[in-house]
Symmetry: C2
Subunit: 418 residues, 2 copies
């Protein structure tokens, strides 16, 4: 069988499984998730054994230590995957919720109800635990999923998916609700991205290169974010002690993630007091500062920022700093260089709060809180399959609800149209 | 200036206008809509004069009468456009609505609020009144719009858009909120479809050919439906008198539209009683019937259906009829041949109602009511810019709310992440 016909037949099976899923109630889905958790724990040693094959390959291929770290499955990681499955089982089922219902003058009762999207193509890089996370969220939201992980994780992914499929079959749910593409051939992704009649949505998770490739080649709608160029704006009316804590947290607590601060914008009226102290604290934590000329004048031991620093996601201990003369200038800067991901303002001014919330054009806009809260768990969505920075469908972190859509249901008593 | 740079500069202006719109409140948008209505009425004669240029061109080009009819603007059509503008002014503003808000254990207050999508590219065929409809819905929902109408309507569209822009400018709203692409060059559409950094969404309205072209060439997400292959399933537990009225209405009341019935599915237990009477009534109204072999056995004076009839949108007085032995067979048929647009069941059986509503995978699913109700106005959305049969973003008729998305807003008191 050619790769193309193999992938297509996976798509056909996923479509069938998605249709069967429409009739399966919450209790059965939750039972399957619980069984999956049990299977992972029971097969701890076998999982580690399969994972070793991938690790051996990774060492032979000379992959960098950070990548090998992400690829590694051990008992604590397996336990945390099992816990994740049980947490998803405990979340409410979004499917079937009637979000609104109203009655028309002619007596028709019209409602909107949540339904699954259908078939989701999920494309990701090295972490094999993502296989389990993504499968659990798709199952709970009533979707079939086709998983394409990194080639370096193929043994782990296939073995994990096999366990998940066993649990599905034992619960009377079609096993093809969860399928892993069983090849490391790079051609496979391109073929998957062309199955517009079988796959409803593509969610890529990984570096900017993967995401650009998927977006450029997909005939299926893609929900994704390229990068998080997140800003904190310290307003002239900020509580400067609070601003310091928020900026420090936003930059330093976990600098390698998409919701870390990349650029700090500071109002000129408070810059003299705020900037030197803040920069010293950040430098003490190992942060390299790149400042605008006004910032450099206040803190001469820093690098001057260049144009390419403003739109950059440093993903590390580097921070660009700019002094602005108004909130409008801050908003203009965000509009020009931001990535529609996360922006925060620190202020005690009521009007500035209202304007910043309305005008900052990002998926999450925070007042007096760290950008690090843009995360499905932190915001209370329960779990997250990714963050979407395009405005279509679901802008921002996507939990179970965002893996559904709504359709209209209409209850009549024989109404016809005049 | 080349066409490419002209279209791109229209996109840049639209993006700027969309940003300015974020600060404009409902009262000003409504005032602009009222002024637009006034301008149309005041310029009745001038509009008809410009429209004549298009009509002359259309006659010279030998366009069919139906197309010339759609192209024609006269006083009643102009009055109805003005009325439409006033109706949109009276609708609630979706922007800024906080759809939900909750508090996290750490005290963060997290909400979802409606925001405009940004810039909408609207591509349509001959009716110039669509220019006014689409512009009004985009303005009210806070979006800038780039309109590309049919080349045969270019004079009418440019003149109408000029009036709308005057009204915008007089209200202090950027005139580039509404722009018509001022060329009939076919290249223009392709260029517009490539402006992925400037346009957020494309909505095409027209025949299947236009929609396929747009979908195949767009780098921007497209909300559209190709066709409406709508089914009515007459269950064995149907009130047959009600079924007759619903089927007659669904097929005959306006057969050329997307929510008309194309295939009638009838349970075999009631076929003997229902089919002959129903078919006679439809034939008396001029409907050509194409039936499955069982249907032909009951009504010998009809054509046998061929395979290509089942997935077809006849857009006229033709109906395919199939007798099924169960609701499952009806649902299978809909899955195989349907277009995810509209399905109706006629039944008095509680379980069949629940299952049909859950399992028929279309944007609007009705019980005991005509398919003709799949329409934004009829369902109570107020007005409609189109119907989307892909599940992403907004499945089904799209009103003002569906021209928005939501972002997260977070009110903190200095929270940082642990």
């Amino acid at each position: 069988m050619s790769i193309a016909s193999m992938i297509e037949s996976i798509g056909v099976e996923a479509r069938k499984a998605a249709r069967d899923l429409r009739q399966i109630r919450r209790d059965r889905k939750d039972e399957a998730l619980e069984r999956m958790a049990g299977k992972l724990l029971e097969n701890n040693d076998a999982i580690i054994h399969e994972n070793r094959k991938d690790l051996t390959g990774a060492h032979e291929a000379g992959l960098p230590p950070a990548m090998i770290d992400r690829l590694t499955l051990n008992t604590p990681v397996i336990q945390s995957m099992a816990e994740g499955l049980r947490e998803v089982a405990a979340l409410p089922d979004p499917v079937g919720e009637v979000t609104r219902m109203w009655t028309r003058p002619n007596g028709l009762r019209v409602g909107k109800t949540r339904i699954p999207l259908g078939v989701i193509g999920f494309i990701y890089e090295s972490r094999p635990n993502v296989t389990v996370d993504a499968a659990s969220l798709c199952l709970k939201s009533g979707n079939a999923v086709i998983l394409k992980g990194g080639s370096e994780a193929i043994h782990s992914n296939l073995f994990l998916a096999g366990l998940l499929q066993e649990a599905l079959a034992e619960t009377g749910i079609p096993r093809n609700v969860v399928q892993v593409i069983p090849t490391t051939d790079r051609e496979a992704v391109g073929i998957l991205l062309g199955l517009e009649d079988l796959v409803d949505i593509i969610i890529p998770r990984g570096g900017e290169g993967l995401i650009r490739f998927v977006t450029d080649h997909s005939r299926i709608p893609v929900l994704k974010h390229y990068k998080g160029v997140c800003h904190v704006y310290v307003d002239r009316y900020a509580d400067l002690k609070m601003a310091e804590e928020i900026c420090f947290n936003a930059k330093v607590q976990r600098p390698g993630v998409c919701n870390a601060m990349e650029t700090m914008l500071v109002h000129e009226r408070v810059a003299g007091e705020f900037i030197p102290r803040m920069i010293t604290r950040l430098q003490d934590a190992g942060v390299e500062i790149r400042g605008c000329p006004k910032t450099v004048a206040l803190a001469p031991n820093i690098k001057p920022a260049v144009e390419s620093d403003w739109p950059q996601e440093f993903l590390g201990l580097v921070l660009a700093v700019k002094i602005v003369s108004s909130m409008d200038e801050a908003l203009d800067h965000i509009d020009q260089y931001g990535s529609h991901h996360t922006e925060a303002i620190v202020t005690d001014n009521y009007n500035h709060v209202q304007r910043f919330l309305a005008e900052a054009d990002s998926s999450v806009v925070l007042v007096n809180a760290s950008t690090r809260f843009n995360d499905g768990n932190q915001l209370g969505l329960g779990a997250e399959i990714g963050i979407n920075t395009s405005k279509l469908h679901a802008f921002g972190p996507m939990g179970l609800e965002e893996l559904t859509t709504t359709k209209f249901i209409v209850y009549g008593q024989g109404q016809t149209r005049q």
